[in-house]
Each structure stands twice: as structure tokens, then as C-alpha cells.
Symmetry: C2
Subunit: 104 residues, 2 copies
DNA sequence: TTGACATATCGAATATAATCGATATAATGT
DNA sequence: ACATTATATCGATTATATTCGATATGTCAA
């Protein structure tokens, strides 16, 4: 966990919102599932297109955001066919909370 | 507490180090006190010059950093004569930890 | 009240981030 | 094979952050 990179990833309104949405994907992405193969569900994350629609930024921007959050460790992704599903990396998020409490 | 501003303030190696140093000022600023008026001690914070020396950036840069951390809420300052002493705002830092645990 | 010192602010240069549309890549269905 | 769809990457533009030296402001001491 590289704190600076994580803090940078969190320093943006849209990215912060995405992270919060992914805490309760069923709530914030209700139509999710239409195109889901059976072996994938919310636990597998939410696909880029759904996130883009909600975030209201361009496709390239949301892709860039998700990639950078993943590099920071906040998200992880799984590819299923033509879709990439992103979900939170709760372990790293937990580490961050711990880091904040003990180191900062 | 405005999370985005706080995260931005934390997104810099030098600023993060300053914040950590101020957690144990006696340890990291041992010569502190030479020019301290009696009514001021470590609880009153560390002066800009001492922080600058340790941080190894220009005087204007450190002043800017401290100001921005204060605006974000991470620090607070007291002026004594010609010196400005900065110290951590533990309440806000606590709020941040709480925010991270519950909202993020 | 003048000189020296601590800090803040200003203005400018350079670096990094944000953001988009266009294009590339990869998977799917016909 | 080909058209369609989802996502990633590229290249460019604009906005914001970093960082400095120079200068201004405020304080103290002689």
C-alpha cells in the first residue's frame, strides 16, 4: 500500500463517489445483471459502462479513473468476455484505515 | 471536514512527513525551545523555520504547505511574536479516520 | 526609528492532473 | 470473415499543483 498514490486517487470527487457506490453496488447499480453471465454477480463487481453512465464523464475518463484506482490498490478487476468488472479491494481499504490510525 | 481537500493535502511526500513529525515534535525537533517564550512549549507547536530546515524546501514552499494543511484542517497555528507555531489538529485527524472507516 | 529576523504573499516557470475525442484492441453474434 | 459492442489506449488541450526567488509585512531590540 503506497499511501501517496492512494490519497491522490481519493483526491477527486468523481473517483470518491465511484468508490462509495461500489460499497453497495446493488443499491447504486440496480439494472446490473441484464448482461451478466450467470457465474458473475455483484460480488464480481460492476462493469465500466454502468459506472460511466452514473458518473457522467466520458468513457475514456472513467476507464482512466478505474485504472488509476486499481493501480493505487483501491479497486480490483475481473474480465468476463467483453466486460471488465471492477469491485473494491476491501483489504487495501482496510489497510488504509489502519495506516491512518497508526501512522498519521 | 472537507475530505477532498484533506486528501489533496496528504498527497505529497513532504507534507505527509511534516504531519508525521508533528505527531512527536520533541523527537523530531529536539533543538526546539531555544527561542521559545516561556509560555510556549511543544504543545504550542513548532515554528516554521524549524520545519523548513528539516523539510529541506524553500521558505516560501514550506509556508505554502503549512497554510494549505491548515486550510484543509489538518493543522492549526498560533502566533507568538514573530514566530508562527504549527501543530496538528487532532480532532480533524480523528474525524478523517472516522470518515474513512464509515463512509469510504 | 532603524535594522535584523521570521513569516507571508506575489509572480513566474515548470510539472503533473483532468478530460476529451479519436482510434486501437478484444470479444460476440451473424 | 464481418459488424457490433465494451473497454483500453493515444494524443492533445486545458486546468491545477509544485516550487522557487523576490518582495512585503509584522515584530523585536538597540
Amino acid at each position: 500500500m503506497e499511501p501517496i498514490g492512494v490519497f491522490k486517487a481519493l483526491s477527486n470527487e468523481t473517483r470518491l463517489r465511484i468508490l462509495k457506490w461500489l460499497k453497495e453496488p446493488e443499491k447504486h447499480f440496480p439494472k446490473q445483471g441484464a448482461h451478466l453471465p450467470k457465474e458473475v454477480n455483484y460480488k464480481g463487481g460492476v462493469c465500466v459502462g454502468d459506472i460511466q453512465e452514473k458518473a457522467n464523464v466520458s468513457q475514456s475518463t472513467v476507464s482512466h479513473y478505474l485504472n488509476m484506482m486499481q493501480k493505487a490498490g483501491l479497486l480490483e478487476s475481473v474480465r468476463h468476455g467483453q466486460w471488465t468488472y471492477y469491485r473494491r479491494n476491501e483489504e487495501v481499504i482496510q489497510q488504509l484505515a489502519e495506516y491512518l490510525k497508526t501512522e498519521i
